[in-house]
Amino acid sequence: MTPSSQTPFAELPPAGTAAATQTDAVDLHLLGQPFRVHGDTAVVGEVRRLLDVFVVSPAQPADPPVVTVRRLADGYAVTATGQPDAGGHAYNAVDATTLVLAILNAAALSGAGCLAVHAGVVARNGRAVAFPAESGQGKSTLTAACLRAGLDYVSDEALCLDWRDARVLPYPRPLELSGWSRAAVGLPAGPCDRLVTAEGLGAKPARSPLVLDHLVLLARHADADAATVTLEPVPRQQGAAALLVRSFNHWRDPERAFDLAHEVAARTRVWRLRLGDPGRAATLLSTLLPGAVS
């Protein structure tokens, strides 16, 4: 996630207002790790809203990693435990919030006690489908479209597989959607969030336990709006390869990562989805999971 100065996604007060002088804190639990965000009440409040599903009571270890938001004369400064101060760089409130979430996301994935694979993941009735992909391949848009189609949200960022038994661990961070993506999934016109919660898309976070049934490799149509969307089976080894290539942290235990990727690929069905219109693709993926409405 990168901050952008063009993101009109919330009615946060600018620095220098009375509201911005107050401080607040929120404790979070992300992928089994404690974090605290502390500082300006408006930004912390927005972080709390966006990360509501990760909020815990402040009974965590005494010294969790902390992200601090300080109000400056001309904006907000964001610093994190163990990271060098960026020299008091001033962000607007929207960008400060986005940066806080980016810091938390990077830290959560870096320290996650699971094999974390860059992927979108959705589910229904405890069964999940994941589409590993690098940034820009359309996984967040497809994830959002799947939520619009009635599937539950697992993540638009990471497929998190328990190192021991490959259970899927939900990581329902806010979806990061571009303007094109928002339009593609029918979000209302006008100023709207770049960061969108599952609830904002009319969906709900998936609950554990989750079992991965399908791995879907994304291939783009030349025409992004193409009406024809196809799904074809491919050799399972391609699924294992995608899990390893897209993993954030296989280096933590390469041999176990190799085994886990192959265990997962051996018991899932692996597909290639030629992705055109995201809504049609989501409808097609929805049929893979039990409980589909025919």
Binding site: P235, Q237, A240
Partner: protein, 87 residues
Amino acid sequence: MTAKRIGPPPPGIRAVELGEDISLYNPHTQGAALLNSTASDVWRLVDGEHTLEEIVDLLVAVYDADPEVIRRDVRQTIDELLSAGFL
């Protein structure tokens, strides 16, 4: 002079079959290789029991392809496996 037999793989090399394809992991280098079905057939024969010519002859009998092409592919596959430490 006796022709050199190819293989077997050094101890610790892991091989996992998914359908017709074999994936390899080398714990010494922490490297992985995902073999296509043809390379997987070569891997199944580099067991220390066969020479290069014997491997080529066995695959020529199975594949409907030019023996010279098969010879070249087998040699290339074995070279790659050797350089990656899988043999």
